[in-house]
Protein backbone atom coordinates (compact mmCIF):
# COMPACT_ATOMS: atom_id res chain seq x y z
CA UNK A 1 0.00 0.00 0.00
CA UNK A 2 1.79 3.05 -1.20
CA UNK A 3 1.23 6.18 0.79
CA UNK A 4 0.37 9.32 -1.09
CA UNK A 5 2.75 12.21 -0.74
CA UNK A 6 1.39 15.01 1.35
CA UNK A 7 -0.10 18.06 -0.27
CA UNK A 8 2.62 20.53 -1.04
CA UNK A 9 3.87 22.40 1.97
CA UNK A 10 6.99 23.87 0.59
CA UNK A 11 9.98 22.02 1.88
CA UNK A 12 7.72 19.90 4.08
CA UNK A 13 6.41 18.18 0.99
CA UNK A 14 7.65 14.72 1.84
CA UNK A 15 7.61 15.24 5.58
CA UNK A 16 4.99 13.07 7.20
CA UNK A 17 5.77 14.11 10.74
CA UNK A 18 7.53 17.12 12.07
CA UNK A 19 8.06 17.59 15.77
CA UNK A 20 10.00 20.52 17.14
CA UNK A 21 11.11 20.88 20.71
CA UNK A 22 8.15 18.99 22.11
CA UNK A 23 7.91 18.78 25.86
CA UNK A 24 5.48 17.02 28.17
CA UNK A 25 5.17 17.29 31.93
CA UNK A 26 2.74 15.76 34.37
CA UNK A 27 2.70 18.30 37.13
CA UNK A 28 6.32 18.51 38.22
CA UNK A 29 7.44 15.38 36.45
CA UNK A 30 9.09 16.10 33.12
CA UNK A 31 8.48 13.14 30.85
CA UNK A 32 9.60 14.61 27.54
CA UNK A 33 12.28 17.26 27.36
CA UNK A 34 12.55 18.88 24.01
CA UNK A 35 11.98 16.22 21.36
CA UNK A 36 12.91 17.03 17.77
CA UNK A 37 11.84 14.49 15.21
CA UNK A 38 11.26 14.44 11.48
CA UNK A 39 9.80 11.54 9.58
CA UNK A 40 9.63 11.43 5.81
CA UNK A 41 6.83 9.78 3.91
CA UNK A 42 7.53 6.10 3.53
CA UNK A 43 10.05 5.97 6.33
CA UNK A 44 9.94 3.39 9.06
CA UNK A 45 11.15 4.70 12.40
CA UNK A 46 11.64 2.58 15.48
CA UNK A 47 11.71 4.19 18.88
CA UNK A 48 13.57 2.18 21.48
CA UNK A 49 14.63 2.84 25.01
CA UNK A 50 14.24 1.81 28.64
CA UNK A 51 10.84 1.76 30.32
CA UNK A 52 9.69 5.10 31.60
CA UNK A 53 11.81 6.94 29.05
CA UNK A 54 8.77 8.61 27.57
CA UNK A 55 8.54 6.52 24.40
CA UNK A 56 4.82 5.85 24.72
CA UNK A 57 4.10 9.43 25.65
CA UNK A 58 5.99 10.56 22.60
CA UNK A 59 3.97 8.51 20.17
CA UNK A 60 0.70 9.32 21.89
CA UNK A 61 1.44 13.01 21.48
CA UNK A 62 1.61 12.50 17.74
CA UNK A 63 -2.13 12.03 17.48
CA UNK A 64 -2.94 14.08 20.54
CA UNK A 65 -4.06 11.21 22.73
CA UNK A 66 -1.75 13.02 25.09
CA UNK A 67 -1.48 16.77 24.94
CA UNK A 68 2.07 18.08 24.84
CA UNK A 69 3.09 20.80 27.24
CA UNK A 70 5.12 22.71 24.68
CA UNK A 71 6.64 22.72 21.22
CA UNK A 72 5.24 22.17 17.76
CA UNK A 73 3.69 19.07 16.31
CA UNK A 74 2.82 18.80 12.65
CA UNK A 75 1.54 15.54 11.25
CA UNK A 76 0.48 14.86 7.64
CA UNK A 77 0.36 18.54 6.93
CA UNK A 78 -1.92 19.33 9.85
CA UNK A 79 -0.57 21.58 12.51
CA UNK A 80 -1.75 19.84 15.64
CA UNK A 81 0.05 21.68 18.36
CA UNK A 82 1.76 24.98 18.12
CA UNK A 83 3.29 27.36 20.60
CA UNK A 84 2.04 25.52 23.64
CA UNK A 85 -1.56 25.24 22.47
CA UNK A 86 -3.64 22.72 20.59
CA UNK A 87 -4.10 24.11 17.10
CA UNK A 88 -6.92 21.97 15.79
CA UNK A 89 -10.63 21.95 16.43
CA UNK A 90 -12.47 18.81 17.51
CA UNK A 91 -13.77 18.02 14.04
CA UNK A 92 -10.44 18.59 12.39
CA UNK A 93 -8.79 16.37 14.95
CA UNK A 94 -11.28 13.61 14.29
CA UNK A 95 -10.67 13.82 10.55
CA UNK A 96 -6.97 13.77 11.13
CA UNK A 97 -7.13 10.75 13.42
CA UNK A 98 -8.55 8.54 10.73
CA UNK A 99 -5.54 9.36 8.58
CA UNK A 100 -3.10 8.31 11.28
CA UNK A 101 -3.80 4.75 12.31
CA UNK A 102 -2.82 3.59 15.78
CA UNK A 103 -2.17 0.14 17.13
CA UNK A 104 -2.15 -0.21 20.93
CA UNK A 105 -0.22 -2.42 23.28
CA UNK A 106 -3.45 -3.83 24.68
CA UNK A 107 -5.14 -4.23 21.28
CA UNK A 108 -8.29 -2.44 22.44
CA UNK A 109 -10.64 -4.36 20.20
CA UNK A 110 -14.33 -3.83 20.90
CA UNK A 111 -15.34 -6.95 22.84
CA UNK A 112 -18.98 -6.94 21.83
CA UNK A 113 -18.20 -7.05 18.09
CA UNK A 114 -16.77 -9.75 15.85
CA UNK A 115 -13.42 -9.27 14.13
CA UNK A 116 -15.19 -8.28 10.93
CA UNK A 117 -17.43 -5.81 12.72
CA UNK A 118 -14.46 -4.34 14.54
CA UNK A 119 -12.70 -3.65 11.26
CA UNK A 120 -15.85 -2.25 9.62
CA UNK A 121 -16.97 0.03 12.42
CA UNK A 122 -14.70 2.96 11.65
CA UNK A 123 -15.29 2.64 7.93
CA UNK A 124 -19.05 2.86 8.31
CA UNK A 125 -19.30 5.54 10.93
CA UNK A 126 -16.36 7.78 10.17
CA UNK A 127 -15.65 7.27 6.47
CA UNK A 128 -19.31 6.87 5.66
CA UNK A 129 -18.96 3.70 3.62
CA UNK A 130 -21.94 1.43 3.15
CA UNK A 131 -22.05 -1.75 5.18
CA UNK A 132 -21.52 -4.04 2.20
CA UNK A 133 -18.56 -2.07 0.93
CA UNK A 134 -17.05 -1.86 4.39
CA UNK A 135 -17.48 -5.54 5.08
CA UNK A 136 -15.89 -6.46 1.77
CA UNK A 137 -12.90 -4.31 2.52
CA UNK A 138 -12.69 -5.72 6.04
CA UNK A 139 -12.72 -9.27 4.73
CA UNK A 140 -9.94 -8.39 2.35
CA UNK A 141 -7.81 -6.86 5.08
CA UNK A 142 -8.42 -9.70 7.49
CA UNK A 143 -7.37 -12.13 4.80
CA UNK A 144 -4.25 -10.07 4.31
CA UNK A 145 -3.26 -10.43 7.94
CA UNK A 146 -4.04 -14.12 7.81
CA UNK A 147 -7.32 -14.21 9.70
CA UNK A 148 -9.85 -14.97 6.99
CA UNK A 149 -11.31 -17.95 8.88
CA UNK A 150 -11.62 -15.98 12.11
CA UNK A 151 -13.70 -13.14 10.77
CA UNK A 152 -16.80 -13.99 12.74
CA UNK A 153 -15.06 -14.57 16.02
CA UNK A 154 -15.20 -12.20 18.94
CA UNK A 155 -11.96 -10.92 20.52
CA UNK A 156 -12.46 -13.23 23.48
CA UNK A 157 -12.13 -16.19 21.14
CA UNK A 158 -8.86 -15.01 19.65
CA UNK A 159 -5.31 -15.26 20.90
CA UNK A 160 -3.25 -12.18 21.64
CA UNK A 161 -1.43 -12.42 18.35
CA UNK A 162 -4.68 -12.77 16.45
CA UNK A 163 -6.29 -9.87 18.28
CA UNK A 164 -3.40 -7.60 17.44
CA UNK A 165 -3.58 -8.57 13.79
CA UNK A 166 -7.26 -7.68 13.81
CA UNK A 167 -6.31 -4.38 15.41
CA UNK A 168 -3.84 -3.73 12.63
CA UNK A 169 -6.47 -4.55 10.02
CA UNK A 170 -8.88 -2.22 11.81
CA UNK A 171 -6.39 0.63 11.62
CA UNK A 172 -5.57 -0.12 7.97
CA UNK A 173 -9.26 -0.08 7.07
CA UNK A 174 -9.25 3.67 7.46
CA UNK A 175 -6.67 3.98 4.64
CA UNK A 176 -4.22 5.82 6.84
CA UNK A 177 -1.16 7.64 5.58
CA UNK A 178 0.78 6.93 8.73
CA UNK A 179 0.70 4.02 11.18
CA UNK A 180 1.63 4.47 14.81
CA UNK A 181 2.50 1.37 16.83
CA UNK A 182 2.71 1.66 20.62
CA UNK A 183 4.59 -1.44 21.82
CA UNK A 184 2.47 -3.71 19.66
CA UNK A 185 3.94 -6.99 20.84
CA UNK A 186 4.68 -6.29 24.50
CA UNK A 187 1.43 -7.83 25.72
CA UNK A 188 1.62 -10.91 23.52
CA UNK A 189 3.13 -14.26 24.45
CA UNK A 190 6.59 -14.50 22.92
CA UNK A 191 5.74 -17.38 20.60
CA UNK A 192 2.76 -15.52 19.18
CA UNK A 193 4.67 -12.35 18.42
CA UNK A 194 6.10 -13.53 15.15
CA UNK A 195 2.79 -13.42 13.33
CA UNK A 196 2.30 -9.77 14.25
CA UNK A 197 5.85 -8.81 13.38
CA UNK A 198 5.44 -10.48 9.99
CA UNK A 199 2.39 -8.38 9.24
CA UNK A 200 4.28 -5.26 10.26
CA UNK A 201 7.22 -6.16 8.09
CA UNK A 202 4.92 -6.61 5.11
CA UNK A 203 3.43 -3.20 5.76
CA UNK A 204 6.87 -1.65 5.87
CA UNK A 205 7.86 -3.37 2.64
CA UNK A 206 4.74 -2.00 1.01
CA UNK A 207 5.91 1.51 1.79
CA UNK A 208 3.78 2.55 4.74
CA UNK A 209 5.10 5.37 6.90
CA UNK A 210 5.46 3.76 10.32
CA UNK A 211 6.48 4.85 13.78
CA UNK A 212 7.03 1.86 16.02
CA UNK A 213 7.72 2.01 19.74
CA UNK A 214 9.09 -1.39 20.56
CA UNK A 215 11.26 -3.58 22.77
CA UNK A 216 11.95 -5.96 19.91
CA UNK A 217 15.42 -4.74 19.03
CA UNK A 218 16.21 -7.34 16.38
CA UNK A 219 12.93 -6.61 14.66
CA UNK A 220 13.63 -2.89 14.83
CA UNK A 221 17.00 -3.50 13.30
CA UNK A 222 15.47 -5.42 10.41
CA UNK A 223 12.64 -3.20 9.31
CA UNK A 224 13.66 0.32 10.23
CA UNK A 225 15.12 3.01 8.06
CA UNK A 226 16.04 4.85 11.21
CA UNK A 227 16.18 3.99 14.87
CA UNK A 228 15.69 6.55 17.62
CA UNK A 229 16.93 5.87 21.14
CA UNK A 230 15.00 7.71 23.82
CA UNK A 231 16.07 7.83 27.46
CA UNK A 232 15.02 10.14 30.30
CA UNK A 233 12.76 12.10 28.02
CA UNK A 234 15.36 12.99 25.37
CA UNK A 235 16.44 11.58 22.07
CA UNK A 236 19.91 10.43 23.05
CA UNK A 237 20.91 9.01 19.72
CA UNK A 238 19.35 8.45 16.34
CA UNK A 239 20.53 6.99 13.08
CA UNK A 240 20.37 3.95 10.85
CA UNK A 241 20.15 0.53 12.48
CA UNK A 242 23.69 -0.19 11.45
CA UNK A 243 24.91 2.94 13.18
CA UNK A 244 23.08 2.32 16.44
CA UNK A 245 23.40 -1.40 16.79
CA UNK A 246 26.75 -1.69 15.11
CA UNK A 247 28.69 0.76 17.22
CA UNK A 248 26.75 2.94 19.57
CA UNK A 249 28.18 6.43 20.00
CA UNK A 250 26.64 7.28 23.35
CA UNK A 251 27.42 5.63 26.65
CA UNK A 252 23.75 5.50 27.54
CA UNK A 253 22.87 3.49 24.48
CA UNK A 254 25.76 1.13 25.04
CA UNK A 255 24.53 0.55 28.60
CA UNK A 256 21.03 -0.13 27.33
CA UNK A 257 22.11 -2.57 24.65
CA UNK A 258 24.38 -4.39 27.06
CA UNK A 259 21.59 -4.78 29.60
CA UNK A 260 19.21 -6.08 26.96
CA UNK A 261 21.76 -8.60 25.73
CA UNK A 262 22.10 -9.93 29.25
CA UNK A 263 18.45 -10.89 29.38
CA UNK A 264 18.19 -12.39 25.91
CA UNK A 265 19.27 -15.94 25.22
Amino acid sequence: MKTSADSAHGRNEAMAIRVQHMTKSYGNAEVLRGIDLEVRTGEVISIIGPSGSGKSTLIRCLNLLETPSGGTVEVLGSLLFDRDRIAVGKNELRDFRSRAGMVFQSFNLFPNLTALENVSLGQIHTLGRGRAEADARSAELLARVGLAERMDHRPAELSGGQQQRVAIARALAMDPEVMLFDEPTSAIDPELRVEVLQVMKQLADDGMTMIVVTHELRFAERISDRVVFVADGCIVESGTPAELFGGAKSERLRQFLAAVEETEL
Binding site: F110, N112, P155
Partner: protein, 235 residues
Protein backbone atom coordinates in the same frame (compact mmCIF):
# COMPACT_ATOMS: atom_id res chain seq x y z
CA UNK B 1 -53.53 -24.40 49.88
CA UNK B 2 -56.53 -22.19 50.10
CA UNK B 3 -54.40 -19.45 51.57
CA UNK B 4 -52.34 -19.22 48.44
CA UNK B 5 -55.37 -18.92 46.24
CA UNK B 6 -56.68 -16.11 48.39
CA UNK B 7 -53.47 -14.24 48.02
CA UNK B 8 -53.09 -14.57 44.27
CA UNK B 9 -54.90 -11.34 43.36
CA UNK B 10 -52.48 -9.60 45.68
CA UNK B 11 -49.56 -11.22 43.90
CA UNK B 12 -50.92 -9.96 40.60
CA UNK B 13 -50.99 -6.42 41.87
CA UNK B 14 -47.51 -6.88 43.34
CA UNK B 15 -46.17 -7.81 39.92
CA UNK B 16 -47.93 -4.87 38.31
CA UNK B 17 -46.43 -2.46 40.77
CA UNK B 18 -43.04 -4.08 40.36
CA UNK B 19 -43.16 -3.71 36.60
CA UNK B 20 -44.32 -0.12 36.80
CA UNK B 21 -41.63 0.90 39.23
CA UNK B 22 -38.85 -0.73 37.23
CA UNK B 23 -40.02 0.64 33.91
CA UNK B 24 -40.06 4.18 35.20
CA UNK B 25 -37.32 4.06 37.78
CA UNK B 26 -34.59 2.37 35.75
CA UNK B 27 -34.61 4.70 32.71
CA UNK B 28 -34.70 7.62 35.11
CA UNK B 29 -31.76 6.08 36.93
CA UNK B 30 -29.92 5.81 33.61
CA UNK B 31 -30.39 9.52 33.01
CA UNK B 32 -29.17 10.32 36.49
CA UNK B 33 -26.25 7.94 35.97
CA UNK B 34 -25.19 9.68 32.77
CA UNK B 35 -25.51 13.07 34.42
CA UNK B 36 -23.30 11.91 37.27
CA UNK B 37 -20.76 10.32 34.97
CA UNK B 38 -20.34 13.03 32.36
CA UNK B 39 -22.42 16.02 33.24
CA UNK B 40 -21.06 19.44 34.02
CA UNK B 41 -21.04 20.49 37.65
CA UNK B 42 -24.22 22.50 37.11
CA UNK B 43 -25.99 19.29 36.26
CA UNK B 44 -24.12 16.99 38.56
CA UNK B 45 -24.72 18.80 41.82
CA UNK B 46 -28.52 18.88 41.78
CA UNK B 47 -28.61 15.30 40.50
CA UNK B 48 -26.27 14.29 43.29
CA UNK B 49 -28.58 15.96 45.80
CA UNK B 50 -31.61 14.18 44.37
CA UNK B 51 -29.85 10.83 44.37
CA UNK B 52 -28.71 11.25 47.95
CA UNK B 53 -32.21 12.07 49.06
CA UNK B 54 -33.61 9.09 47.21
CA UNK B 55 -31.08 6.85 48.90
CA UNK B 56 -31.00 8.51 52.29
CA UNK B 57 -34.71 8.73 52.96
CA UNK B 58 -36.37 5.50 53.99
CA UNK B 59 -38.72 4.28 51.26
CA UNK B 60 -41.59 4.52 53.68
CA UNK B 61 -40.94 8.22 54.23
CA UNK B 62 -40.92 8.92 50.51
CA UNK B 63 -44.14 6.97 50.16
CA UNK B 64 -45.85 8.91 52.91
CA UNK B 65 -44.52 12.13 51.48
CA UNK B 66 -46.18 11.42 48.17
CA UNK B 67 -49.39 9.97 49.55
CA UNK B 68 -50.05 11.95 52.74
CA UNK B 69 -47.79 14.93 52.34
CA UNK B 70 -48.43 16.19 48.83
CA UNK B 71 -52.19 16.57 49.30
CA UNK B 72 -51.38 19.41 51.67
CA UNK B 73 -50.01 21.32 48.70
CA UNK B 74 -52.83 20.28 46.45
CA UNK B 75 -51.29 17.27 44.69
CA UNK B 76 -53.37 14.13 45.03
CA UNK B 77 -52.23 10.69 43.97
CA UNK B 78 -54.17 7.48 44.37
CA UNK B 79 -52.52 4.90 46.58
CA UNK B 80 -51.40 2.87 43.56
CA UNK B 81 -49.92 5.89 41.83
CA UNK B 82 -48.24 7.02 45.02
CA UNK B 83 -46.47 3.70 45.37
CA UNK B 84 -45.25 3.78 41.79
CA UNK B 85 -44.17 7.42 41.92
CA UNK B 86 -42.47 7.16 45.29
CA UNK B 87 -40.59 3.96 44.60
CA UNK B 88 -39.63 4.90 41.05
CA UNK B 89 -37.92 7.90 42.57
CA UNK B 90 -36.08 5.76 45.07
CA UNK B 91 -35.19 3.18 42.41
CA UNK B 92 -33.81 5.91 40.17
CA UNK B 93 -31.62 7.10 43.02
CA UNK B 94 -30.17 3.67 43.68
CA UNK B 95 -29.73 2.65 40.07
CA UNK B 96 -28.05 5.94 39.20
CA UNK B 97 -25.02 4.64 41.01
CA UNK B 98 -25.18 1.32 39.19
CA UNK B 99 -25.42 2.98 35.78
CA UNK B 100 -22.72 5.49 36.55
CA UNK B 101 -20.32 2.76 37.60
CA UNK B 102 -21.07 0.74 34.47
CA UNK B 103 -20.57 3.69 32.16
CA UNK B 104 -17.34 4.74 33.80
CA UNK B 105 -16.27 1.12 34.01
CA UNK B 106 -15.76 0.89 30.30
CA UNK B 107 -11.96 1.07 30.07
CA UNK B 108 -10.38 4.27 28.89
CA UNK B 109 -8.55 2.31 26.21
CA UNK B 110 -11.85 1.53 24.53
CA UNK B 111 -12.55 5.22 24.26
CA UNK B 112 -9.07 5.79 22.88
CA UNK B 113 -9.55 3.08 20.30
CA UNK B 114 -12.80 4.69 19.24
CA UNK B 115 -11.22 8.12 19.01
CA UNK B 116 -8.34 7.00 16.82
CA UNK B 117 -10.92 5.57 14.47
CA UNK B 118 -12.40 9.04 14.27
CA UNK B 119 -15.72 8.26 15.95
CA UNK B 120 -17.71 11.19 17.32
CA UNK B 121 -18.56 11.45 21.01
CA UNK B 122 -22.14 10.28 20.62
CA UNK B 123 -21.24 7.48 18.24
CA UNK B 124 -18.66 6.29 20.74
CA UNK B 125 -21.28 6.25 23.48
CA UNK B 126 -23.80 4.43 21.33
CA UNK B 127 -21.53 1.89 19.64
CA UNK B 128 -18.82 1.27 22.20
CA UNK B 129 -19.74 2.43 25.71
CA UNK B 130 -23.38 1.45 26.05
CA UNK B 131 -23.10 -2.11 24.67
CA UNK B 132 -20.25 -2.79 27.07
CA UNK B 133 -21.84 -1.01 30.01
CA UNK B 134 -25.03 -2.96 29.38
CA UNK B 135 -23.35 -6.22 30.28
CA UNK B 136 -21.96 -4.80 33.49
CA UNK B 137 -25.27 -3.30 34.43
CA UNK B 138 -27.49 -6.34 34.14
CA UNK B 139 -26.54 -8.36 37.24
CA UNK B 140 -26.77 -5.51 39.77
CA UNK B 141 -29.93 -4.27 38.09
CA UNK B 142 -31.63 -7.63 38.38
CA UNK B 143 -30.44 -7.87 41.97
CA UNK B 144 -31.97 -4.51 42.64
CA UNK B 145 -35.24 -5.40 40.98
CA UNK B 146 -35.61 -8.11 43.60
CA UNK B 147 -35.27 -5.40 46.23
CA UNK B 148 -37.99 -3.44 44.46
CA UNK B 149 -40.25 -6.46 44.54
CA UNK B 150 -39.81 -6.74 48.27
CA UNK B 151 -40.34 -3.01 48.69
CA UNK B 152 -43.80 -3.23 47.19
CA UNK B 153 -44.82 -4.82 50.49
CA UNK B 154 -44.75 -1.32 51.97
CA UNK B 155 -47.86 -0.54 49.96
CA UNK B 156 -49.66 -1.91 52.98
CA UNK B 157 -48.99 1.44 54.62
CA UNK B 158 -51.19 3.27 52.17
CA UNK B 159 -53.94 0.72 52.21
CA UNK B 160 -53.16 -0.92 48.92
CA UNK B 161 -54.25 -4.55 48.57
CA UNK B 162 -51.15 -5.96 47.02
CA UNK B 163 -49.99 -9.17 48.60
CA UNK B 164 -48.96 -7.86 52.02
CA UNK B 165 -51.91 -5.49 52.30
CA UNK B 166 -54.26 -8.25 51.20
CA UNK B 167 -52.71 -10.71 53.64
CA UNK B 168 -53.15 -8.30 56.50
CA UNK B 169 -56.69 -7.57 55.47
CA UNK B 170 -57.67 -11.23 55.14
CA UNK B 171 -55.79 -11.98 58.33
CA UNK B 172 -57.68 -9.49 60.41
CA UNK B 173 -61.04 -10.59 59.06
CA UNK B 174 -60.42 -14.26 59.73
CA UNK B 175 -58.24 -13.81 62.81
CA UNK B 176 -55.71 -15.98 61.03
CA UNK B 177 -53.11 -13.31 60.50
CA UNK B 178 -50.12 -15.55 61.14
CA UNK B 179 -50.91 -18.24 58.56
CA UNK B 180 -51.60 -15.60 55.96
CA UNK B 181 -48.41 -13.76 56.74
CA UNK B 182 -46.34 -16.92 56.69
CA UNK B 183 -47.80 -17.87 53.33
CA UNK B 184 -47.16 -14.39 52.02
CA UNK B 185 -43.57 -14.61 53.17
CA UNK B 186 -43.19 -17.96 51.48
CA UNK B 187 -44.56 -16.66 48.20
CA UNK B 188 -42.20 -13.69 48.22
CA UNK B 189 -39.37 -16.06 49.00
CA UNK B 190 -40.16 -18.37 46.12
CA UNK B 191 -40.58 -15.53 43.64
CA UNK B 192 -37.33 -13.84 44.68
CA UNK B 193 -35.37 -17.07 44.45
CA UNK B 194 -36.91 -17.79 41.07
CA UNK B 195 -35.86 -14.40 39.74
CA UNK B 196 -32.33 -14.79 41.08
CA UNK B 197 -32.02 -18.23 39.54
CA UNK B 198 -33.25 -17.05 36.15
CA UNK B 199 -30.81 -14.16 36.31
CA UNK B 200 -27.95 -16.51 37.17
CA UNK B 201 -28.92 -18.79 34.31
CA UNK B 202 -28.97 -15.89 31.87
CA UNK B 203 -25.56 -14.82 33.21
CA UNK B 204 -24.12 -18.26 32.63
CA UNK B 205 -25.50 -18.47 29.12
CA UNK B 206 -24.15 -15.12 28.05
CA UNK B 207 -20.71 -15.68 29.55
CA UNK B 208 -20.31 -18.95 27.73
CA UNK B 209 -20.24 -17.19 24.40
CA UNK B 210 -18.75 -13.94 25.59
CA UNK B 211 -15.67 -12.88 27.47
CA UNK B 212 -15.73 -13.81 31.13
CA UNK B 213 -13.80 -10.80 32.36
CA UNK B 214 -15.71 -7.74 33.49
CA UNK B 215 -15.42 -4.66 31.32
CA UNK B 216 -13.08 -3.27 33.92
CA UNK B 217 -10.13 -5.45 33.00
CA UNK B 218 -8.30 -4.61 29.78
CA UNK B 219 -8.55 -7.30 27.11
CA UNK B 220 -4.89 -7.94 26.62
CA UNK B 221 -2.47 -9.27 29.17
CA UNK B 222 -4.96 -11.54 30.91
CA UNK B 223 -6.66 -12.34 27.63
CA UNK B 224 -3.91 -14.45 26.20
CA UNK B 225 -3.53 -16.91 29.05
CA UNK B 226 -7.26 -17.21 29.69
CA UNK B 227 -7.84 -18.04 26.07
CA UNK B 228 -5.43 -20.93 26.28
CA UNK B 229 -8.09 -22.73 28.29
CA UNK B 230 -10.83 -22.05 25.78
CA UNK B 231 -11.09 -24.76 23.18
CA UNK B 232 -10.92 -23.58 19.63
CA UNK B 233 -8.83 -20.54 20.38
CA UNK B 234 -5.09 -20.31 20.05
CA UNK B 235 -3.23 -19.60 16.85
Amino acid sequence: MQLIIDLLPGLGLTFLLWAGICMIGFPLGLLFGYALAFGHAILRIPVLAIVNIARGFPGLVVLYFVYSGLPDVGVYFSNTTSVVVAFSFVAAGYTAGIFRAAILGVPKQQLEAASVLGLTYWKTQRLVVIPQAFKAVLPPLIGFSVVVLQATSLSYAVGLREMTGLAYNLGSITFEALPYMLTTGAIYLVVCIAISQIAAWVQRRSSRTRRRATPKSPPAPTGTSVLRAVPGAGS
